[in-house]
Symmetry: C2
Subunit: 457 residues, 2 copies
């Protein structure tokens, strides 16, 4: 048994396959459908994504090989360390063992490159020369910018105008990796011009940026171009499972297995990446609790409805069966920028409905308190998104103390907060609100899914 | 032989002793002296530093134990990975093997916590309750803020006014770790008030901030307070040797030994930390080249004079025998903020004089070009300081190509640039100048050391 404070794996021990939970669900998750209720065929997605990724999207194969050129790039920072937060345990006086999987060690500072590298690779081998995407807080846009440069593709990022103006350093980061970054709404697309005509001073939104990115990808004439999405879809969940697969190996190495597995949830990808290998174990009889944590201001799993809904406001995407607040939902201006999506990944939603995982919602002052305690004990400053996982971990550690149980708790520490420090300032200045979404507002935005077909009960 | 792309060590393999090069110099380095030419006794430094650190400063013991509580904190991110930059090698078409020791994985993003943690510990066990320091670019202030929090001390940082105003995120970072950050010059000290009386709109300077921090430390009445310095002094070099000791172990693990060892030089600590264990090998007969790299705009080693000089403008410190441009030297406003000191660490200067190391100076556009190539091949965005080491590494790799030799080159990758991206923007916009210091300016500032005693020839 090696020293359990920091569990490292050799580069040669990095997993060589991704794990696909769709092979193990007892009931399969409902497929995407069109507004007419009919399943969406691969050919309908072909203008948006390359066919090799569409095949992964619908695959039910349990293990999928990670291509060697993808492994080669991932090994620049992977396997990421599994660390024990001994000093946090001491500060809490808990008998629980707290572990965190440090995804902040990637060049972009979060888990996002795990799928960005894979997506750039599959686009490249399919003959695509440019990828287009949108970004809100900036984590995904940065990760795809880097990945396209490493794989030899061009990259264009539509960045929500208010972030574009408030986060100059994210722009420079993307520019350093050679990406073109455009404020959204822009005058370059039909969708953007339409919004600007109505409101020239709009701060923009993720929904508008998605529309612009998809339009830009499918209408590009000069060179083969496709769109890339950083969360929600099945192939994104798949690529992130390397996190949980490594974690399981690392626990084996020190002779432990977690009692509780925790991740924060926006679109669901970092949570899925950490938890799905453990969900697999649970399906096969292992006793483990798995908790997804969302902001109280955007509670799709804890207060939304399981329904067929669109991925964007303009209903350009197929309908996905998921926990949703309704696609017209507009989240309050909270700081955890990455956790503001109206829906939840269909695979995560299905796992929740199958009773394989639990969901929790936490208000943001508790999250920032947790983040600051983490920084004061372990040093690392967490991303605002990651703070939700830390807050839930602290809740579990306190419960273990009350129960007097030496539980093993592990969280996905999805990224560092060095590019997103203004939320900390607002927290210290007492300017963060613990906004909890009123019931009436949920009811109102959920009305937008009423006309869609219903998933099987 | 393990996979050589990324060489990791277990936490249990972290070195448990620091290496002191002062035990191995054939001629000892000249000691610090007072303006009267007499050696400075420990008691003269006692108001500024705790006695346990002063003992390390003058020690000639070869190996010094790293206290267990310091090891415990260092293990949060150490041993840091030694990585092979395969993709950079390919881009250069060089037969050289290029390795980088990734010190960017620390919570503060650079090598600085290696000594900050040790300094905070020694102050703590000596009964000190508050540490005071200055910071320019912000790397050192951040590292000490974190370290004081982890060791249970208060921390106060005088930050050069222009950085304080231009780098709000560095301030939030220090605040997150609980430190008080004050713009310098401030109205809190005699030194600060004197400067403000002359020029209320001064942007400040590192020299002024040092004066304020020392004054604040030695005059504090409310609780035991001392000053901490992030480079230049012997005990700082000592604490950083963990970098080179790990690197040597990592090369042993893969059955290699470097032909060339490279580090960037401001005050000298990251270069010393990487190189001194290899300097030791060289003294004992090993064939290895060791190169310190400084900016062409602040060339203390390549164009300065080896002389006794003061560490600050106001001549408050003892006189140190070092390569210097003269303590009245004012560096041009270049972006590599950490490499602007007029002098060089006495131990590094002595190693240079003894012919154990070489020095090179590189203009900054070449450095940023190197940094961008690194980001495009390895993903990680380097700190502006680190870019100097990368530029020299690329020079060596190109030379290896010309000579057709498969040399092994290793650089200390001292930190990431995510908190210092504005230099990249200036580079892309073509706004960086390749300022080379005019001879007349060096002559002028060197006049300030003319009246001091001379070190032995």
């Amino acid at each position: 048994m090696s020293d359990p404070v920091r569990v490292v794996l050799e580069a040669a021990d990095m997993p060589r396959q991704w794990y696909n939970l769709n092979a193990d669900f007892r009931r399969p998750a409902p497929p995407p459908i069109g507004p007419d209720g009919k399943p969406v065929g691969p050919e309908m997605l072909a203008p948006v994504f390359p066919m090799n990724l569409i095949e992964q999207e619908v695959s039910t194969q349990r293990w999928i090989d990670i291509p060697e050129p993808v492994q080669e790039v991932l090994r620049i920072w992977r396997p990421s360390p599994l660390q024990r937060a001994v000093r946090l345990e001491q500060a809490l006086g808990t008998p629980a063992r707290i572990f965190y999987k440090n995804e902040g060690v990637s060049p972009a500072g979060s888990h996002k490159p795990n799928t960005a590298i894979a997506q750039a690779y599959y686009n490249k081998v399919f003959g695509i020369q440019r990828m287009v995407t949108e970004t809100g807080a900036g984590q995904w846009g940065s990760a795809l910018a880097m990945s396209c440069k490493l794989m030899g593709l061009e990259c264009k990022v539509y960045m929500v105008r208010i972030s574009f103006d408030q986060k100059p350093f994210r722009k420079i980061m993307m520019r350093t990796w050679g990406a073109e970054c455009v404020a959204s709404p822009s005058t370059e697309t039909h969708a953007g011009r339409a919004v600007l005509a109505q409101d020239p001073n709009t701060p923009g939104s993720l929904a508008i940026a998605i529309s612009e990115a998809i339009e830009s990808a499918v209408t590009a004439k000069d060179k083969p171009t496709r769109y890339g999405l950083g969360s929600v879809l099945n192939h994104v969940m798949l690529h992130q499972t390397i996190i949980g697969l490594e974690t399981r190996k690392q626990f084996e190495k020190i002779g432990l297995y977690p009692d509780v597995v925790i991740g924060c949830c926006g679109g669901g990808s970092n949570f899925a990446g950490m938890s799905f290998p453990f969900v697999c174990d649970k399906i096969h009889g292992k006793n483990v609790r798995i908790v997804g944590v969302e902001p109280a201001a955007c509670p799709s799993m804890t207060r939304g409805q399981y329904a067929y809904d669109s991925g964007d406001v303009a209903v350009m995407t197929p309908l996905l069966a998921m926990h949703t607040l309704g696609h017209t939902f507009v989240p309050a201006p909270i700081h955890a920028g990455g956790l503001r999506y109206h829906g939840m990944a269909p695979m995560v939603s299905h796992a929740l409905r199958e009773g394989l995982i639990e969901a929790a919602a936490i208000p943001q002052n508790e999250c920032y308190q947790a983040a600051v305690l983490f920084a004061h004990t372990e040093g690392f400053i967490p991303a605002p998104e990651t703070s939700h996982a830390i807050a839930q971990t602290i809740r579990e550690a306190k419960r273990a103390k009350e129960e007097g149980k030496a539980k093993t708790v592990v969280m996905n520490w999805s990224g560092h907060g060095l590019m997103d420090l203004s939320g900390y300032q607002a927290f210290f200045d007492g300017k963060l609100s613990d906004y909890v979404l009123p019931e009436a507002e949920i009811k109102k935005s959920l009305a937008s899914v009423a006309g869609f077909p219903k998933p099987p009960a």
